[in-house]
Symmetry: C2
């Protein structure tokens, strides 16, 4: 190794690929689509439908949900208030990284507290898009795909959101979808339209 | 919403975009290039050079390093043995997610312990590529870009890797680069060549 190439180390380190470089490469912005809503509201279903639609358009996409987070990054967290907050904090930090990587990142977590969601918004800035999956609890409980409401009503699950623990509806979500009135396809289309209108992706 | 579209919720949830779908879209595999080596060995420099080369080829890339991890996801961790282990564990879990998103993920952390690196290898399976930045400590200390060795020698930094805390060199790294003998460009090319030879990316 020559003295010259040694001295270029610093310069090389500076020559990083930036978020802007990655966005130019892929042709869309990085963003965080933060789906929030009750258990059974349809968060994962819609997030996956949106991801499929975006993928078909050639976008970089990724969905973070209980399946890939609770058994991985956050497997050492429980359900205390402190751990729930740390759960959302870590997810928020990961979405920031994915956003920096120019990925349209979709998250599907109940995330019942406004303060936790606001903290993530703070991180992601104008790349944060709050999607309220606004399904009445009666419908969620009727669907009860995992039988959780039944268990919660029987007292088998303490602090279950909507039953024995509060859900704080978003105060001013960027997107509000109603799965009791719209089909999954319509909800997904509404999200995609928002991204186009707000120039995260091209038409 | 019709009864029909309600009943398709489960099907929609199943219709997820997979790692394989994303890899087909982008034309290369997801992988974890785990750079390990002493402070000042050149991990970040080479990782950034490799990222630039891969980005120029149109690959999806991202670098995780102290800059974007220590002040974000892992800002609530210190430098105790337990926290150092948790630091690497979380980074490993994040690389697994990026790898699933079909991103060529590069990490630049000292990661001195074989057991921690092996745990990440366990997570990422055959997508894990250990890159040993094999720079003698004398060279690292001579470079000392952040003045850390000087502080460590003065006793101002406890448990400094290579001085007062061990560095366990990789037992069988996939790639071994020597910044005391090779230029940064040569080291970066060696990594890119490995990816081509092992069909992570096309030639």
């Amino acid at each position: 190794m020559t003295e010259d190439s040694k001295s270029t180390n610093i310069v090389w380190h500076q020559a990083q690929v930036s978020q802007s470089d990655r966005e130019t490469q892929v042709g869309h912005k990085g963003a965080v689509l933060w789906f929030t809503g009750l258990s059974g509201s349809g968060k994962s279903t819609i997030a996956n439908a949106v991801e499929a639609a975006l993928h078909d358009r050639g976008c970089r996409t990724y969905v973070l949900d209980g399946d890939n987070i609770r058994h991985g990054l956050n497997k050492n967290l429980g359900f205390s208030d402190e751990d729930r907050q740390e759960n959302i904090r870590r997810i928020g930090e990961v979405t920031k990284l994915f956003c920096d990587a120019a990925v349209l990142t979709l998250t599907a977590f109940i995330s019942p507290f406004q303060s936790d969601r606001d903290a993530v918004r703070e991180l992601a800035g104008d790349r944060f898009i709050e999607v309220f999956v606004n399904t009445p609890i009666e419908i969620c409980e009727q669907r009860d795909p995992k039988g959780l409401y039944q268990k919660a009503r029987a007292g088998e699950i303490p602090e279950f959101t909507g039953i024995s623990s509060p859900y704080e509806a978003p105060e001013s979500p960027e997107i509000d979808v109603h799965t009791d009135e719209q089909s999954i396809e319509e909800c997904a289309q509404q999200v995609v339209d928002y991204l186009v209108t707000n120039q995260f992706i091209s038409a």
